[in-house]
Structures are given as structure tokens and as C-alpha cells.
Symmetry: C2
Subunit: 362 residues, 2 copies
DNA sequence: ATGAAAGCGCTAACAC
DNA sequence: GTGTTAGCGCTTTCAT
């Protein structure tokens, strides 16, 4: 897991909890270990990274001294000297949306088996902030970049291209990638949902979702959705947009509002599971027959849905798998095992009917 | 937000999206900018960090050259030379538990206004992994460390003490801190919940929670809870422990199970809101009168609770505020504005009765 | 198997 | 206001 498998963390006995009244100001250096062990800096370095042949005796001497001094290597210096930085920049909109923690676990799961370490940055869905964060990250000369979405400022794209490191854009495949991509087509997700809805005989369809200028993936799902409806000669009868606030609560409020205004709706498509779940709860409480009188569908395949009174129809975006695949690409490219660039992995979205979308008769 | 407010990110026009067929392998250096602008490296460095006086003319020359070349500074080199690293290590168990994303947003909110940048590490609730991650992090010589909990291996504590950088332990205040602490007392949270329950006349009390050897805060709440009951001559009548899986679903299952086994229970205390919410949903569906026949309480004050059919009693842990406060301490200490160490901030847990705990008559 | 010398790309500390 | 000189703590390369 760590870069230096042989070097045990500071010896608790040597650097005891209670001992030093005046904590050492200056961190230990290789030179300190070298002097303490009577072995050259170079050989100490070899032992600590176990590279090259070192006799068992010197090895032990060095390890003992390092432990004794509580030596912690300085990666800054190491990175500068070797021009190798085992950091992977991961840039996502935010952690508030449960989607990204899940992607992150996929990423760390894979990186945990490599010397690479993720460094996280947030964009708050703002391209200018993305640009700043990216600049900041790239100035650490990471081994790779994983970032959400395909929409970036021209400057961001330029920086990424010029960086010469593996870049993996994740979550979305609708658009032109800078280098590698791993994700699903949100247009397709929207289309497939629309088709399933129409196929099940729903006719008067409404939409509730986030205000989308900022969220390209939600926008693309919406576009795919309306496009597929249009192909069928249909269009969205009514819609509501929101921003901020608790998803569940918004889902309730807006569902009530839209049904009040358009009581004839027989289906509502939600831009995510959270508001969808809110809508579902509202319907259950207010005696709206789901899925016969009213069908509902969300998007994401969130684990949360499993415990609700009824299972919301949804489409799994495979977030964890996306994280894993992206990390794998970066890890392989960074290790030199893979030299090819521009790999493209489009996962198939998987519609789950749950209890809120009439099922196809088999 | 960034370290170098004056240096605009790569010029999109200069380093165009389409232009270079062979992307430059070697990143630009200060020397490159120096040569391109005919200004000494040192002055270039000054301009790029806007330190010291530089004439407007040279300034412009340098900026133009940097932009033109798509120069991105090398923080590795900068950090080594200045022995200043604007990184803050943040170490949490995982991101799966919504608590930590929220703490993180508090942290980034504050750090966004400073030159500091958070770097995230995960322990998976395992002390050995925490030790590894910490070692890894400290080898980057960060400006500070924020980490969850007060329980760490002796080696971890030793490393932290020896590091000589600000250390803030968060979430929990029950125990001995290494340096600064920001959090709540989970023992007190458990005690106060127990007292409120008893005060409202509940008599036969059950507990459902995670298996706790790993989760010290859940354990402490449990201990505080049982301790307060004991003071009242009471004890927990029945209990269930679980691990893994969807919180909501587990909450349902275990609530059913415990009520089947101990139908006389008139209160269930849950170790977190997620299973509590599952239990609540089960009760509502199965006609268990809440809060009269059966009272329920969770812990965390999760936003999710707002959209459920009834509001679960809970206790807000102020996660976001904890993140903010911790980040503030690190930022002030790192900037030298604060030299004092060992600050201690204990937030008061705030009980919310919701709809599942009989309210005190006023 | 071990060591010596020369940087990695930047900034601190001084000159001028 | 600008330039020069030394490193920062490692690793690379080449000797031995």
C-alpha cells in the first residue's frame, strides 16, 4: 500500500508518547539516518526504498536507525529528485451528491493496491473553479487526472492536453473526450427511460428536476428523454425545476405542486433518485396509486432506495464501477503497463422497474 | 483561492485545443519563462508569486511569456525550496458514511479562502490503515492534520507529536487529545438522549446499532446511554447489532426482529439516523403508534430525515461546523496568526424531538 | 555491495 | 527593482 513497504512507521517505543518535552522542530532527514547508522546517504536511501542490493547487516543497521529517529521520508524531495509523483488528481463537483463519494470509493479501492494516492478537488459545478483547482492540482505534477464530465473551459482542456499525463473523464460519454473516458451515455439513459415509459402505456408525462445549466449530465438525460418522447409524437406535459435543499423534501413539494397543476399526469420522470423518492413518499401518503394511476422513475440506482416502502424505478449509473475503471486506466498508464491513450469505456445503463413503473408483460 | 492570484491559467488561445500534434513532453520551467521573457529566473519567480517590487513592464513581459508557454509552476520544487507545503491532511474512516462528506464540505469551505488545500485519506475504521495513511501523508510534510477520532495507535500518536505541525482531532471529545480537538462528547450525547427518554416516561428501552469495536463514537454513545439509564435504575431490555448493508433496510429488519422478540419495548434508540429512519418506516407501515406506543431516536441530524413521513428524533452532531472549526484552527496556526496549541472546542449536542419522541409538556 | 557527485526546479538571502 | 549564489532533501548516474 505504501511506497516503502519495508520501512515500519515510527517505533512507538523509541518515540514514546510521553517522552520528548520539546518536540523536535526539524524533521529527520536521510542524512540524520546516515550519520546515526554510519552508512552513506545513498545506501540508506536504497534500504528505505529497497532498491538494489544491500547486505542484510547494513540493512538492519539502517532500519534500526530510521526507526530510532522516527524518520519519515520527505516525498517532496523524493518527488523532485525522481520526477515521479504518486498522486492522482480527482476532480469532482462536490461530495454533497452521494454519487461522488461512491465514485471515490471505487477509485480508492483500486488505488489502494498501487503506490498511487488520490488527491481530491471540488469544482462546485463551476467551470472557473474547475480551472483553478485543475491548475493547482497540475502544479503538483500528479501521475494522472480523473475528472467528472466532458465539459471544461478551453483553458482547462489546454492544460490537460499539455500536461502529458493520463486524463480520464468520468461519468459521461456524450461528447468529445480529451483522452480516456469512462461512463454512461446520459442521453441514452434518458432515451431508454422514455421508451420504457411509453412502452408501458403511460401517456401524460411530467418532469421534475434540478435547474440544469450547471449539471450537464442531468441536462443530457433530459434531452435524451424529450427526444425519445418526440420520436413517439409526444412531449412533456408539465415540468418543475428546483435548486438546493433536501432532495426528499423538494421531491414531495414539487410532486404535489405539479399534480395540482396537472392532475392528468400519469407519469413523472425525476432527474435523480432523491427527489424521486420524495415524490414516491408523497404519492404513497396521499393515496395516489403507483404505478397504475401514476408511474415514477428516477435516476442513479441509489442504495437508499432499498429501504423505502416501495422501490422507485431507476437506472443504475454504475458509479463505483466507473471509479474503479478510471483508476485502473490511470494506474496502468502511470506504471507504464499501458501506453495507448484515449481508451473509451461506455457502460450500459440498466433500467430497474422497481414498483413504480408498470412491468412489461413477459 | 489559489496561491498565485496573479497568474492566469494557461491561455486558451496560446495553447489551443487543436494545435500541438506532439504534446510537449517536458513541462515548462521557470527557466523557460526566464529565457522567453529575457528576465532573470528570480524576477520571474517574484512576478508569478507577486512578492517584492517588480516594475509593471517586466511584470507584463513575464506574465505574457508564462501564458504563452502554458507555464504551470512546479509546487514540488517550490515546496522543497521554501519548506512550505500548503496541504492539509484530512483523515477520515470513509466517505460511505454521509457524516464525513459533510465534515469535508465544512473543511473545504474554510480552506477555500486560504492558500491551503485538503488532501484526503481513508482509514476504513482500521487503526493499522490509519497508521499507513498517516505515514504516507506526513511524508508530504503538510501544514496540518485533521483526523477523525481520538483513538490512534501509539505509533500514530508518536508520529503526530513528532511532526511538529498542528493536529486537530475531530468529531469526538471524550478522551485525551494529541493537540487540538473539535467535536462533541458522544458519551454526553448518549446520556442526554437516555435522560430525555426516561423523562418522557418510556420504560422498556431497546437498542439497535452497528457492531461497535471499530466505531468508537457509536460505542461511546452507547456507553453514555446505558450509563444514564443505569443511574435511573434501568437497563437496556433488548438489543441488536449489525454490520454493513443499507442502513434503511437494516433498520427495518432489525426493528421487526427486536419487536417480535421483545414486544413490550416502548422505545428504541438507534446508533444512527439511517437505521433509525428504517425503523421509523417499518413502524409507520405496520401500524405501530409512534411516539405513544413506541418512541424512536437516532443520531446525527441528517438532512435526509426532513423528507420522511415523520421526523425521527435525533441529535445533531454539527458535522459541518466541526469541519469549519477544525479548518479554521489549522489555517490560523499554519499562517502563524495563532501560536497557541491544544485548543479544545466541545460543541453541545442538540436534541430534536421530531415526531418520534414524546415532547416535554411545557 | 557501497559511495561520490551532480542535479531535480524552485526560493531565501544577499548583493547591486 | 533586479540579479547572483546557495541550497531544500532526495535520487540518478557513474565509480569503485
Amino acid at each position: 500500500m505504501t511506497d516503502d513497504p519495508t520501512l515500519p512507521p515510527t517505533d512507538p517505543a523509541a518515540l514514546d508518547d510521553e517522552a520528548p518535552a520539546i518536540p523536535p522542530r526539524r524533521p529527520m532527514t536521510l542524512r540524520d539516518v546516515s550519520e546515526a547508522s554510519g552508512v552513506s546517504e545513498m545506501t540508506v536511501s536504497r534500504v528505505l526504498r529497497n532498491r538494489g542490493d544491500v547486505s542484510e547487516t547494513t540493512r538492519e543497521k539502517v532500519l534500526a536507525a530510521a526507526k530510532q529517529l522516527g524518520y519519515v521520508p520527505n516525498k517532496i524531495a523524493g518527488a523532485l529528485a525522481s520526477s515521479r509523483v504518486n498522486l492522482v488528481a480527482v476532480i469532482v463537483p462536490s461530495l454533497r451528491n452521494m454519487v461522488f463519494p461512491e465514485v471515490m470509493s471505487g477509485i480508492s479501492e483500486v488505488l489502494d493496491d498501487t503506490p498511487l494516492q488520490p488527491v481530491l478537488g471540488f469544482t462546485d459545478y463551476r467551470p472557473e473553479k474547475e480551472e483553478d483547482v485543475l491548475y493547482e492540482m497540475l502544479s503538483w505534477r500528479p501521475s494522472g487526472v480523473i475528472l467528472a464530465g466532458l465539459e471544461h473551459s478551453a483553458a482547462s482542456r489546454a492544460m490537460l492536453k499539455a500536461s502529458g499525463i493520463p486524463v480520464v473523464e468520468i461519468m459521461d460519454t456524450d461528447g468529445e473526450a480529451i483522452d480516456a473516458v469512462v461512463g454512461i451515455s446520459h442521453r441514452r439513459a434518458g432515451r431508454e427511460t422514455a421508451r420504457a415509459i411509453v412502452r408501458q402505456g403511460y401517456e401524460s408525462i411530467g418532469f421534475i428536476g434540478t435547474k440544469m445549466p450547471l449539471d450537464h449530465r442531468a441536462r443530457k438525460r433530459f434531452e435524451g428523454f424529450t427526444e425519445a418522447l418526440a420520436k413517439d409524437g409526444r412531449e412533456i406535459v408539465d415540468q418543475e425545476f428546483y435548486e438546493g435543499g433536501s432532495g426528499l423534501l423538494k421531491g414531495r413539494e414539487l410532486t404535489q405542486k405539479i399534480l395540482q397543476r396537472s392532475p392528468d399526469l400519469d407519469f413523472i420522470y425525476y432527474s435523480n433518485d432523491m427527489i424521486g423518492a420524495g415524490g414516491l413518499l408523497w404519492c404513497l401518503e396521499n393515496g395516489v396509486g403507483v404505478p397504475q394511476r401514476l408511474g415514477l422513475a428516477g435516476f442513479n440506482g441509489m442504495e437508499l432506495l432499498d429501504g423505502l416502502p416501495a422501490r422507485l424505478a431507476t437506472m443504475d449509473a454504475g458509479r463505483r464501477e466507473i471509479g474503479r475503471a478510471a483508476a485502473r486506466i490511470v494506474a496502468e498508464r502511470a506504471s507504464g503497463a499501458l501506453t495507448e491513450t484515449g481508451q473509451r469505456l461506455e457502460l450500459a445503463p440498466n433500467l430497474q422497474y422497481g414498483d413504480t413503473l408498470r412491468r412489461p408483460k413477459v
